[in-house]
């Protein structure tokens, strides 16, 4: 299982802060995002390839080809705006 967390405007768009789900068929960040996007509606809008979003795996910034393993915590969020 994966724990998936959503933050800030992306959390508001998809309407949830977290969920648990199994590994995607393609066990990478790209594979997970593709499956989430295939839910359509707000998911397709929020995770549009042209939109700006970032992914962290186990609390470290990740890229599309970062591999995923059972137990990973994946966070998806808009570009950060602290400071």
């Amino acid at each position: 299982m994966l724990t998936i967390l959503y933050f800030a405007s992306l959390r508001e768009t998809v309407g949830k802060a977290s969920e648990s789900r199994g590994l995607p068929a393609n066990p990478t960040v790209a594979g997970l995002v593709a499956e989430l996007r295939s839910r359509g509606d707000v998911w397709a809008a929020a995770l549009d390839a042209g939109k700006r979003w970032r992914v962290a795996v186990n609390q470290e910034m990740a890229s599309l080809d970062t591999p995923l393993r059972a137990g990973d915590e994946v966070a998806i969020f808009p570009p950060v705006t602290g400071g």
């Binding site: 405007s9 609390q59 950060v80 705006t81 602290g82």
Partner: protein, 150 residues
């Protein structure tokens, strides 16, 4: 040596400076404070709310400070970032870097701010007369961070 804190409470630059000044090898302290402005992109801002990703935040900040410590001769470093709801003129962030000489302190302080702006998981939401809005990231912050690539 460094201190990293993420907190809802305010902070006091004088107290942080006093703690550093116990080390008489320090000749230079560069610091930065970010404040809530009452106008952003032409619209009045009543409050600013900072959300973060608690499990990741201190880890990300420690990684940024660690990179600075590898690049420059840093004798002490304080990084404090607030979360929660703030008002105009409130303090958001403090970065304070101590070194023997000023060049290292200035560079490391600016590097930490540039990386924090693009790497640390904080998000700002503003309350304006037209309702709430999430602050958009700035391309200029990506450019600022990219300056430090070797």
């Amino acid at each position: 040596m460094h201190t990293i804190r993420v907190q809802t409470e305010d902070f006091d630059i004088a107290a942080e400076l006093a703690a550093m000044r116990t080390n008489p090898a320090i000749g230079a302290v560069a610091s930065f404070i970010g404040l809530v402005r009452d106008v952003n992109e032409g619209t009045g801002v009543a409050t600013l709310t900072l959300e973060h990703y608690p499990a990741m935040t201190e880890k990300a900040l420690a990684a940024i400070v660690g990179q600075a410590q590898q690049r420059w001769e840093i004798l002490d470093c304080v990084l404090i970032h607030r979360v929660g709801t703030l008002q105009p003129t409130d303090q958001i962030v403090l970065v304070m870097v101590a070194s023997a000489h000023r060049g290292h302190a200035f560079d490391a302080c600016e590097f930490i701010m540039d990386y924090l702006k693009t790497q640390a998981p904080f998000w700002k939401k503003e309350a304006t007369p037209d309702g709430e809005r999430w602050v958009e990231s700035r391309d200029s912050d990506e450019v600022a961070a990219s300056r430090w690539h070797a």
